[in-house]
Symmetry: C2
């Protein structure tokens, strides 16, 4: 098979103008970024109030493994297949961060014959959204240190809560000291850089309905505490306006196309552990007005992205999702069953059987949200018939629909059965049930999540967590929804607990506040917010010829 | 008078498509960035070999003062006026950096009725060129620290020559320690951030003819020395391809329009002390093919930007400039004559007279390049008739043309006389003479500059400079042209020497190598490469309403 970039390059793209035309987006409501990308004004939503929303389908996955699950590929393939069935569908995805593109992971624009295009641009600077977030983020930092230097706002320089940000995998910036060199350079203090997608501003961008909402959320960010311990916000810094100006274009949905020329929005990319993990809400809302079936994805496994989407995003914006697609692969299930990464291509019913409980717990968890669940087995050519049958039977026994997705190799053709099952499920009139209510006390919210989703027997709070809780309560932040930051490699808080862990102790190590995004982050484990490059980073494989043809991106 | 942003907003812009059409740029050779900005492929130049170049006019200024000289405003006004005289003209400018926009300086898209539009975009993220430079710059840093961690290339971590970069005024990042926190984060070392426009990659971007040239230049960057003292280059890091991929769009000229709908390229922005200080060469070359008169500007006073343009840029690219416009203001001349900043609006022939020697030395210096010099007095409404007459007479006595430029208040109408004089001067068949030759020994080059331009009696080298010279000679870098990094506030190396200093000692403190850009930097003073924010930064004045209208940018 050809590489992703070869397939991408051989695809015939349509001009984005004609795709925008088909969606009836008036010319004054979008700006072109080259011939194949358009930024649609979020204000166009105001013109569409009269329209009914389409159906919302959320794609999630079992617990991620190094074997890869293909959630983005499945989302794209499913949306293309719905279009093939003569229904309108738009897929909405997160945009890739440059750091990992240069690192080991490669891009994030789908794969094979289920990609969004132009993949080179999407995987590189795209429309500059992430750069805008970086700039806004670092403006706050520069202002905080300037105010410390000039002794404004009584900032406690030992309690600056706002790191700096860069869209790069750069481990050397994880722990740094800034402000050295004497009086002209300000006051020395410990600091750190996070990768831009881990910035609260990325979460805010993806949770803002419009410029006013954006400005309001930005103003609420808590950046530091003063010497009395009180929170200092962006409002106190007086720069919410400047930050919103820097983000004025980034809030607008990016319209691109799939490899089969169906519309796609690729927009925003917050983490699914320390943030909510789905694409920008302006894109989802716009897609719901512009199509009958919106396929969206959420980050990591269903215990992270899907939980946050259903418990936090949907209630916040009044979204009514219709179905959940749970992506699993034979390879990943074998890995969960104890097989080593190098042997995943060899048929092995034994490991597969041992790995099925991971699929089971995700199915059980997702059922609690009261929406139809459809399992999509994302097929690899090394999967045997027996292996696939084993999974199909297992899922059927749990009373859940299951389909084999071959869109990586076959495009929409490979996802028609999945699409039919999804469309049928959407016809049921299901209503989302959340695990917790916004009104629940903080500890109650956590308790419900821990027992229902992470499947622990009990919760423990460290003394740091108890201390932080006092701060949250003192300033009234404890009423915010909870976003749990925990490992993606297990449904538990321990990356080594594969499969279906239960009856263990879930530990809340600390809390962080994302007051602008509008949630409390519960830290259940160490979250790495700045990846590193490997010994041989992908950057060394990337090249361009004199005509601008790129190699090494995937 | 209205503010810049009010004037800009009330202007009627033409769609950039129609401007591109008038320039006969085929659609396949440009990409739109919204309705009013296009990126023109640098490869379009290959189609234009058959065309003769237009005349090249370089706009420079007297020694800068806090009073402002209006070089960009004059360049734009002059180009608009040439168009008004029924000749084709394109103005080529540097693009503003976001750091200063948020700091104290405001934007850099001209002013009053001589602006380039859309000023909001140009002053904000524009087409993302600077962000691309930041990313490429920091990829090198991340790779260097990764290779140090994994003990590749035998890099001496105490001799990393490559800082990190950010497009922000952030003094806290001037002196930092990175790599703290233990083994996983690499090895601690001293480091610093420069503002992106000070990155060698910005200079390289502006000096690269095409993607191959770009890749070649990138590969030559010296990033560190190994434990034997030998230079380590980007070629050794094996990432020239990845860097070129990150810069593949940034190399393409940005086409915008002036407030009178004439074409303008705004592209790249290297410093004029540690780098060469003019917009990207692809834009200048393209403008020369597309119009009869190209007006370009160079950074700071003529001792910095103009000298570098004539001695380095023109010979490197075989450019044949036709005339020099030297911008002066009554206010700045009074400041040079000893008047305080607060009193510059009061007529004061005495201070003005005392300041005239600064104008004189710039005129004398510029004459040495053998091109016609035209002085443009950039008029402010507080200038008195007597003051203007004094300057006109003074310039006439030096045998040089002089014109009063009122384009800030009147647009092209205010620069017609200037345009006529410039056009007339271009008719002479002048040939550029440089101060030094590329073949001269390094010390000879410096000696010629110091005596002819900086007007010192002698040069001294510190022991650091002598040491660095040995390194340059050992590895054959001493044959490169010299770019002098010195204060912009005096033609000398001392910011306190106003007016026309002479017979002093010029001190070369050290050398730096910009092997990718292709020059040696002579450091004659401390160059601040990372500005800071002021106590009340401009960011607090910037705001946006719900319809996207911005205030506080200028």
């Amino acid at each position: 098979m050809l590489t992703d970039i070869e397939i991408a390059r051989s695809a015939k793209m349509r001009k984005i103008v004609s795709i925008a035309n088909e969606l009836d987006i008036p010319e004054e409501y979008y700006n072109l970024h080259g011939k194949y990308i358009a930024k649609v004004s979020h204000q166009y939503l105001n013109e569409l109030d009269f329209k009914k929303d389409g159906k919302l389908i959320m794609v999630t996955a079992i617990t991620p493994t190094p074997a890869g699950e293909g959630k983005t590929t499945t989302s794209i393939g499913l949306s293309m297949a719905i279009n093939k069935l003569q229904k309108n569908s738009i897929v909405t995805l997160r945009e890739p961060s440059l750091g990992p593109v240069m690192g080991i992971k490669g891009g994030a624009a789908g794969g094979g014959y289920a990609q969004v295009l132009p993949m080179e641009d999407i995987n590189l600077h795209f429309t500059g959204d992430i750069h805008a977030v970086t700039t806004a983020h670092n403006l706050i930092s520069a202002i905080v240190d300037t105010y410390i230097k000039y002794d404004k706002l009584n900032i406690d320089s030992t309690r600056v809560l706002w790191p700096r940000a860069m869209d790069m995998n750069d481990r050397s910036l994880r722990d740094i000291v800034v402000g050295l060199g004497g009086k002209n350079n300000g006051y020395p203090r410990e600091d750190s850089f996070v990768i831009t997608t881990a910035s609260e501003i990325m979460a805010i961008l993806c949770l803002s309905k419009d410029l006013e909402d954006l400005k309001e959320r930005l103003s609420r960010i808590v950046v530091a505490r003063n010497k009395e311990g009180d929170p200092i916000t962006v409002k106190d810094l007086e720069i919410s306006g400047a930050l919103a100006v820097l983000l004025k274009d980034a809030i607008n949905p990016n319209l691109v196309q799939t490899i089969e020329n169906t519309p796609a929005f690729v927009h925003g990319g917050p983490f699914a552990n320390i943030a909510h993990g789905t694409n920008a809400i302006t894109s989802t809302k716009l897609a719901l007005k512009l199509s009958d079936y919106v396929v969206t994805e959420s980050g990591f496994g269903s215990d992270l992205g899907a939980e946050k989407f259903y418990d936090f995003v949907c209630p916040t914006f009044g979204l009514h999702p219709s179905a959940t697609v749970l992506v699993a692969t034979i390879r990943a299930l074998k890995y969960h069953g104890g097989q080593s990464k190098s042997a995943l291509s060899i048929p092995d019913l034994d490991s597969l059987k041992k790995g099925l409980p991971n699929l089971q717990v995700h199915i059980e968890n997702l059922k609690k949200f009261n929406l139809p669940v459809i399992v999509a087995i994302n097929k690899f050519e090394t999967d045997s018939q027996e292996e696939i049958k084993l999974v199909l039977d297992f899922v059927k026994d749990l009373g859940v629909e299951c389909s084999v997705n071959e869109s990586y190799e076959k495009g929409s053709e490979g996802a028609v059965d999945l699409a039919e099952k999804v469309i049928k499920s959407c016809e049921k009139d299901s209503e989302l049930k959340t695990i917790y209510n916004f009104e629940d006390e903080l500890e109650i919210k956590i308790d419900k999540l821990v027992k229902n989703i992470y499947r622990a027997g009990r919760v423990e709070y460290t003394s740091e967590a108890i201390q932080s809780m006092k701060f949250l309560k003192k300033y009234g932040y404890d009423k915010l929804p909870i976003i749990m930051a925990k490992t993606q490699y297990s449904i538990s808080d321990d990356p080594h607990k594969l499969g279906f862990p239960k009856d263990y102790t879930f530990t809340i190590r600390d809390f962080e506040l994302s007051a602008g995004a509008g949630f409390i982050v519960g830290l259940a484990g160490d979250m790495l917010r700045m990846p590193g490059l490997s010994k041989v980073p992908n950057a060394v494989n990337i090249d361009i010829d004199k005509n601008g043809n790129i190699i090494g991106l995937y």
